[in-house]
Symmetry: C2
Subunit: 242 residues, 2 copies
């Protein structure tokens, strides 16, 4: 089973204070780019892998989705998602995405935000998502970018001329990385860009678009702390179709 | 026009001494992976964008290709390619790939090894390649990896524990990079992985496979100098189909 760090009290408390937890989708700087990769949701059936507090599920319903299923491994996050309501057209279910089981072809869109890098067996999850989509259905997801997850010692280093550099090593050495983010010993699984894309293709998907997200000048003006992120992308965003 | 650094006397002399110039395809460590991305060449018509000394053109003919067209901007390289023969089934032509003009749909395979990162206007070249391929035709190419081309100051940095790190910055800042490789002021155009792939998709290609090349343990045993390359891939290899 995937490490369920989100149910760790300290992690959960820290995560709950992040802008994306307090403000929802608009607190996530990559959201405008991810949103642009989504199809029209009117009348569509949607599954959200790693739904967290349910922000995306509620938004999808507002966009006219017919039904939204939110899956997450964290009881605490699901409890808050359920408490925030949404009605009969949203279902929340606890699921270990390492052993994802979904019915065949009931969904038009599978969505996942910053969750898949926790999985050890991504091939199984991608195969399950492919089976769960109708032909022409779409899979849109974000993960931490492989340049971000690769290093043995992730963290900015002062480069020449005051510019910060990101010290890439171990890029081709795929596997778990233990980081101290909100809690100690958070396990994420580093994969290369090639592996993410080749797993999709092998599962039967056609790649529609990829984005390596960085902040816009307007976002940097509003949040100067994001300026460094243009040096190396923190997020990889992918849209594919069955 | 693309900077024609290959006709610079000093650059040409240095390039001519590289293993891949002396030994041909087998002197290029990424060749086994690139070769595996190629279709069966028997009876096929092939165009090589940036053919250099013609090693690939001659190899394609040995594999049974019906016809091979080698294009390059360098007079010196074409002169040597022509001197190495190949018969009537190989044609060599001088071409500026920034203004690539190819007839419509006469080719089954377009191939390019470590040449496209010299182009400022890659979108035009990709559109020309797409038009020149038959439906189902394949485009297989390698470029210097965006992680490799991004930094303002490319070069290994000693990291913790003696491990070398590659100081990534400017990754999202696409454009020319001036490097001193075999000659001073060699201009290459940095693009992100996303840009390479999205340009292909926008041109009408379907992506079949991507590889971020690094040496195998056997290659490192034979060439210990390549060991560092596992820390960050030097080459990006892509196969796509029209």
């Amino acid at each position: 089973m995937t490490q369920n760090i989100y149910d760790d009290d300290g992690f959960f408390a820290g995560y709950s204070r992040l802008p994306r937890s307090v403000e929802g989708l608009d607190g996530a700087p990559e959201w405008p780019v991810l949103r642009a990769m989504l199809p029209d949701l009117r009348g569509r059936r949607v599954v959200d892998l790693g739904c967290g507090f349910g922000w995306f599920c509620r938004w999808a319903l507002q966009q006219g989705a017919a039904y939204v299923l939110g899956l997450d491994v964290s009881e605490k996050m699901l409890a808050r998602a359920r408490a925030d309501g949404g009605g009969a057209a949203i279902g929340y279910r606890r699921a270990d995405m390492e052993r994802l089981e979904l019915p065949e072809a009931p969904f038009d869109l599978a969505y996942s935000s910053l969750a898949l890098h926790y999985l050890e067996h991504l091939d199984r999850a991608m195969a399950a998502v492919h089976r769960a989509l109708v032909p022409g259905g779409r899979f849109v997801f974000s993960v931490e970018h492989p340049i971000f997850t690769a290093p043995a010692a992730p963290g900015w280093v002062a480069g020449e001329g005051g510019r910060k550099t990101w010290p890439v090593d171990r890029y081709l050495d795929e596997g778990p990385r233990s980081t101290n983010w909100l809690a100690e010993g958070v396990i994420k699984h580093h994969r290369t860009v090639a592996t993410y894309l080749n797993l999709l293709i092998k599962s039967g998907f056609t790649i529609l678009r990829i984005e390596e997200w960085g902040p816009t000048p307007e976002q940097i003006a509003a949040q100067p702390a994001w300026a460094d992120e243009v040096e190396r992308p923190p997020f990889l965003l992918v849209a594919a179709t069955r």
